[in-house]
Structure formats: structure tokens, C-alpha cells
């Protein structure tokens, strides 16, 4: 260990004598490799240190588990306040939330046979829903058509359809129709407001039990682009 890089402080002109002796890099690594290999402190024999470290580690780990279970409210996404009543925090949302993901499942089960999973419809047979003015705008239009169905001639993007849509919505719950409408109005480039179950209930009450709409009837009540 007589090599030249031991004197760190030869760079510090203030001192006449060289600084403290230092390890060479080779010696430094050699010494530590020796300790790492022996897994114990040289020339000191038995040491309490590793036992204390393991003990501390276990104690902290135990505390951590305890703390997490007590202060996380079951890893709920809706718990923000540690002092809020527990029943409430885990109960989740108490009011209806339109959910496009649920709507997609319902759409695939009830609507996709005709309008297709892509919402593109079948030209000449089933009208498209993609970027359609019929589904955007006033939510009552889409709700009415889902509940009561629609039969008659419509023209969309220059293609004529003589459709006959049944009253699929009669068998569905208000919330389910709201999910479907929310999904249709937000998927495939559509960007209209979500639909609430309360709106569906209101429309259902308003129109009562009735047959299919004609396109003219719908458009008179709810013109497109609105």
C-alpha cells in the first residue's frame, strides 16, 4: 500500500505534511472482500449486531403489517378520511353512477347483434351509431328509442335505412339503459354527457306503454343537432 494515490491531501497546499495515509483501491477492496467472505467481524468473534438487526427488522415488519391493516380501510378506493365513520367509507358510492364499462357489456349483449360491436351498423340494414347525431345531444331521444324502439325510413350519411328496431328497453332496468346510453354516447368518438337512471325513469313514465316510434315522431320532439 505504498502507491501514490494514498495521499488525498497532497492537493491541499495549506498543510506541509501529506494528509493521512489512505488505502489503495486494491487494498480497500481486498480487505472488504475478506470480511464479506468470512461473514463476521475479524478478530472480534461473536457479535450481537446481526441478531439485533434481525430483531429490529422483524419488529418493524410486524408493526408495518399492523399499521397497514389498521390505517388503510381495506385498501378501498373511496376511503380518504381516517376519522370518517367506518360504515360509510366501505359502503362506497350511495348514488347511481353511469358506468360505460357496464354499458359496454350490456351493449354487447343487447344491441351489438344489429348495430355491431364497433357501432358501425350494417349499411342499408342497421344504422351506425358512430359519431351519429341521433345518439348525441338530447338524451331523451336515445332513451325513447331504446325503450320503445323505432320503425320507418331514415337517412344517415346518405344511406337509406328502413329499420325496424324492437323495444329492447322494456325488459331492461332504468340503470341498465342509463349504462348503455352512457356507453354509446362516449364510445367510438362520440362525446356526449353520461345519462342518469333518473332521466330514464322520467322518460319511461312520460311515454308510458306504447308501440314503436316513427322517425318523424322522434325528430319532431327532439330535432337532431340538439
Amino acid at each position: 500500500m505504498n502507491d501514490r494515490n494514498r495521499h488525498y491531501d497532497r492537493n491541499r497546499p495549506r498543510q506541509g505534511s501529506p494528509g493521512p495515509e489512505g488505502f489503495s483501491d486494491g487494498r480497500l477492496v481486498e480487505v472488504h472482500s475478506q470480511i464479506a467472505r468470512d461473514k463476521q467481524e475479524p478478530a472480534q468473534g461473536f457479535s450481537m449486531t446481526p441478531i439485533l438487526v434481525v430483531f429490529l427488522f422483524c419488529a418493524l415488519g410486524f408493526w408495518a403489517g399492523l399499521y397497514l391493516t389498521r390505517n388503510s380501510r381495506g385498501f378501498s378506493a373511496s376511503a380518504f378520511d381516517l376519522n370518517a365513520p367506518v360504515a360509510f367509507a366501505s359502503a362506497g358510492p350511495v348514488v347511481f353512477e353511469p358506468d360505460a364499462a357496464k354499458g359496454q357489456t350490456l351493449y354487447l349483449a343487447n344491441c351489438a347483434a344489429c348495430h355491431q360491436p364497433t357501432g358501425a351498423g350494417v349499411p342499408g340494414a342497421f344504422p351506425p351509431l358512430v359519431k351519429s347525431l341521433w345518439v348525441a345531444g338530447d338524451e331523451k331521444r336515445i332513451i325513447k328509442i331504446i325503450i320503445a324502439g323505432m320503425a320507418g325510413e331514415v337517412e344517415i350519411d346518405g344511406v337509406k335505412y328502413n329499420g325496424n328496431m324492437p323495444n329492447v328497453g322494456v325488459a331492461l332496468k332504468d340503470a341498465q339503459i342509463a349504462h348503455i346510453a352512457t356507453y354509446v354516447r362516449s364510445a367510438w368518438g362520440n362525446a356526449a354527457e353520461p345519462v342518469m337512471d333518473a332521466s330514464v325513469a322520467a322518460v319511461r313514465k312520460e311515454i308510458g306503454a306504447r308501440g314503436q316510434y316513427s322517425p318523424k315522431e322522434v325528430l319532431d320532439a327532439h330535432p337532431l343537432g340538439n
Binding site: Y8, G22, L28, S33, V53, L68, A77, A79, F80, L82
Partner: protein, 454 residues
């Protein structure tokens, strides 16, 4: 580990060392030189932010809005100063420890060049058109890939040096530096993805941001500084570290727990309780590596007049202060993560004080100490002035102490003391940068082969 037979004859060691040092010269000069420039820019900007009201001349310009100056100073400090300096120092350290003779060092220079160009763009954009929403991620979206690519060129050399080390040398300092280097690139890319490329929803962005900041602070910067600590404490004191057989446990627990401390900075925020609780638990668990690292390093320093010898070595004087500050800041972070303690400290300047302790008194002091050893070796020059080193040490130490006091103490003390401290820091950095440039440029020009540099 192969047989250790490499203490060697002095002459052999010397020529091998110069073979290691000489090709480092050009990238080191570029990287550390720009680091020093960024440090001065950052301290000048910080000084402006501490003034209660800016001088009439510039106070009426949008460019000098407090938020812009602060963001620019922060970026210049973390990416400009610490980033560049660690590129240079980490490469140097691992080349020494692994006896690695760098080839294609120009790649580091090119990486450093683009890193600095991208940073200049970012800092300029922060001043001219404003910062973004998230600290340390507040730069133009286009700068992200450039920074990542230049980091890959300039910042991953420690990994190469470790992988290609001909001697099989294996020491804790290498683990920390290699781990720190690979960590940054991954964290940077993931954070860019979660905030810019595929933005997470709402508050999840804030969670991702807290994770990124903590990873940069603790793993990239803190991890590198700890590597420097492991190296210099043992080297200068010429003694093995205390209870070194625990160093691998210290390393792995530090790297495993550091990232989980992130949500401790979101206690009380609108993120779910479980995320906040993970932050509390992570901060407490980090006390295990803090204790072990303290045992390794402070244990070695506390034996046989170690502190006295540390004080008499320019490098170790800075580094021992750096290690103590770094470990203290982590201990304070664990204390402050307690929910009831945190309630009183959140949103105050306390977090500023913690960052100062970690990033300035901790990481930066370690880099200063390493620079005092590395610069003359690589450049072949010498530190021109002992007085400048003293000015640097005392101005930086007093400035850091004053700024920490201002941040931790009552806010009413904030204005005046923090302005004086910022001015002291600027003076210290001017002294450091000017001597560093003198040392860098006084050496034998790169390319010229020379046997020794005494």
C-alpha cells in the same frame, strides 16, 4: 472473487492508474465543467427566489415570476449540477475500483453534450413560457426522450465499468453507484409515461409524480452519494468499514424500501388511505438501512480518532458531513411521516428543509468531497488555492446551516436568513467552481500521454 494479488508495485500501479485516468479526461472535463456552471446558475436563481420582492428593474417581468425562477433553479440543480457531476464522478469512481480502462469515452461526451443542450432548452422554456404542473418533470414533452437518450450515453458508464471490470473487484460502493445509475433511467421513463405519454387519471398523476421525485432523490442522487461515502470513508481512513458484512443487507434494504416512502409526501391529500399508509410504512422501514449504513460508515468514523482525521482531509471533511446530513434527513423523514406530526408540518417549508438536508448538505457535499480527490487526478492538475477551498467549505456549510434553520424554524425568520444563506451558498459555489476550473484546465492537455502527474 479471484485471488487478491493486485496491491502490486508502486510503478506498475502508477502506470495502470494513468491508463485509467487519461482517457477519462475529455468526458470528465466536459461533464464536471458543465456541472459547475449549472451549480452557479442554480444558486444565482435560488438567491433571486429568496428575495421577498424582486428589485424594481426585473420584478415587473413575467420571466421572473417566483414559480418560474424556483422551477428553473430546481432543474438546474438536480439535472444540471447533480446529474452532470454524478456522470463524471460515478464513472471515475467505478473506473478506479474496477481498474476499468474506458474505450469509446466520446460517447459519454456526446451524451453529456446532448444532456446539457436538452437541459438548456428545458430551463429556457421554464423561464420563457413557464413550468409544468409537476416539479422535476416540468419541461417540454419533447425534451424527455432526448434526456433519456443522453442519459443512456453518459450516465450508464458505471454499469459498463462494473460489468467489464477485469479484476472482479467487488465492493459496496460499486453496488450503490451501479444501482443508482440504472434506477434513474427506468424511473424517468416510467414517470414520463404516467404523466405525459399515457396520462394516468386525475390524482394518480400526483402519486406517480411523488414516486418519481422520491426515486430521483433517494435512489439516483442519494444512492450515488452513499456509494461515494462507502468508498471515501474506508479509503481515507485506511480501515475497513465497521460491520462490513452487513453492507449487502444495507444496500438491498435501502433500494427495496426507498421507493415506497414516496406517498408519505401525500398524507392528507385526496389519494386513498392505503396509499398514504404505504408511504408511512415505507418511511419507517427505511430506518433499517439508515441504521445499517450508519453502522458501516459512522462506525468506522467513530473509531480511533476517525472524525479528527476526516476533518483533516478535504475530501472526507465534506463527505462525512454529507453522510451525516443524508442519514439525518432520512431519519427526520421517518419522524415526519407520522400522521399527527405530519398534520402540523405539511404545506410548510419543512419539506424544503428536508430536501436541503438531503440534496445539498447530503448529496452535494459528498460530490464536493469526491471532486476534491478526483479532479486533480483526472486532469493532472492540482487545486490552485487552499484559501479558495476554505472559503468554499465555510460558505457552503454556513449557507446550508442557515437555509436549513430558515426552513425548519418559524417562517417569520424565513426572509432575511434565507436570503443571506443563499448569498453565502453562491459565494461558496463561485469559489468552488473557479478553483475547479483552474484545476481542470491546469492539467496536461488531453491526448498527450504523460507518465505521472505530481
Amino acid at each position: 472473487m479471484t485471488q487478491e494479488q493486485r496491491s502490486g508495485r508502486p510503478d506498475e500501479d502508477r502506470s495502470r492508474l494513468s491508463r485509467i485516468d487519461a482517457p477519462l479526461r475529455a468526458p470528465f472535463l466536459l461533464l464536471f465543467g458543465s456541472a459547475a456552471l449549472w451549480l452557479m446558475l442554480s444558486s444565482a436563481l435560488s438567491l433571486l427566489t429568496t428575495l421577498k420582492a424582486l428589485p424594481a428593474g426585473i420584478g415587473s417581468y413575467e420571466w421572473f415570476a417566483h414559480g418560474r425562477l424556483e422551477a428553473a433553479a430546481r432543474n438546474a440543480f438536480v439535472y444540471g449540477w447533480a446529474g452532470n457531476a454524478l456522470f463524471a464522478i460515478n464513472l471515475w469512481l467505478l473506473a478506479q475500483l474496477g481498474r476499468f480502462e474506458i474505450r469509446n469515452g466520446w460517447m459519454a461526451s456526446v451524451g453529456g453534450l446532448f444532456w446539457n443542450l436538452a437541459l438548456t432548452w428545458c430551463t429556457g422554456s421554464v423561464i420563457v413560457s413557464g413550468p409544468g404542473a409537476y416539479a422535476l418533470l416540468d419541461f417540454p414533452v419533447g425534451a424527455g426522450p432526448v434526456l433519456a437518450a443522453s442519459f443512456a450515453l453518459a450516465g450508464l458508464w458505471p454499469v459498463v465499468a462494473y460489468a467489464k471490470r477485469p479484476t472482479g473487484h467487488n465492493f459496496a460502493a460499486q453496488w450503490f453507484v451501479v444501482g443508482a445509475s440504472v434506477t434513474f433511467l427506468l424511473a424517468f421513463l416510467l414517470a414520463q409515461a404516467a404523466v405525459f405519454w399515457a396520462p394516468a387519471s386525475g390524482v394518480v398523476q400526483a402519486v406517480a409524480h411523488s414516486w418519481y421525485v422520491r426515486t430521483v432523490h433517494l435512489l439516483w442522487l442519494g444512492g450515488s452519494a452513499l456509494g461515494l461515502g462507502y468508498y471515501f470513508v474506508s479509503k481515507v481512513l485506511a480501515r475497513p468499514l465497521h460491520a462490513y458484512y452487513l453492507a449487502s443487507v444495507a444496500f438491498w434494504t435501502y433500494f427495496l424500501f426507498a421507493g415506497w416512502t414516496a406517498p408519505a409526501s401525500l398524507i392528507g391529500s385526496p389519494v386513498p388511505l392505503w396509499i398514504q399508509s404505504i408511504g408511512v410504512v415505507g418511511s419507517m422501514m427505511l430506518l433499517v438501512p439508515v441504521l445499517l449504513i450508519g453502522l458501516n460508515l459512522l462506525g468506522a468514523l467513530s473509531r480511533d480518532g476517525g472524525w479528527f482525521r476526516a476533518w483533516n482531509s478535504t475530501s472526507l471533511r465534506f463527505i462525512s458531513i454529507g453522510i451525516v446530513s443524508l442519514l439525518a434527513s432520512l431519519a427526520i423523514a421517518a419522524w415526519a411521516s407520522d400522521r399527527s406530526v405530519n398534520a402540523g408540518l405539511r404545506f410548510t417549508s419543512f419539506a424544503e428543509g428536508q430536501n436541503l438536508l438531503l440534496l445539498y448538505a447530503g448529496v452535494t457535499f459528498c460530490v464536493f468531497g469526491a471532486a476534491y480527490a478526483a479532479l486533480p487526478r483526472v486532469s493532472g492538475g492540482r487545486w490552485p488555492s487552499a484559501a479558495a477551498i476554505h472559503v468554499h467549505f465555510w460558505a457552503s456549510t454556513l449557507g446550508a446551516a442557515g437555509a436549513a434553520f430558515a426552513a425548519f424554524a418559524h417562517p417569520s425568520a424565513h426572509g432575511f436568513i434565507s436570503a443571506v444563506s443563499a448569498a453565502l451558498l453562491l459565494i461558496g459555489h463561485l469559489a468552488f467552481a473557479s478553483t475547479a476550473f483552474a484545476a481542470l484546465l491546469s492539467g496536461v492537455p488531453a491526448g498527450e500521454s504523460q507518465p505521472a502527474h505530481d
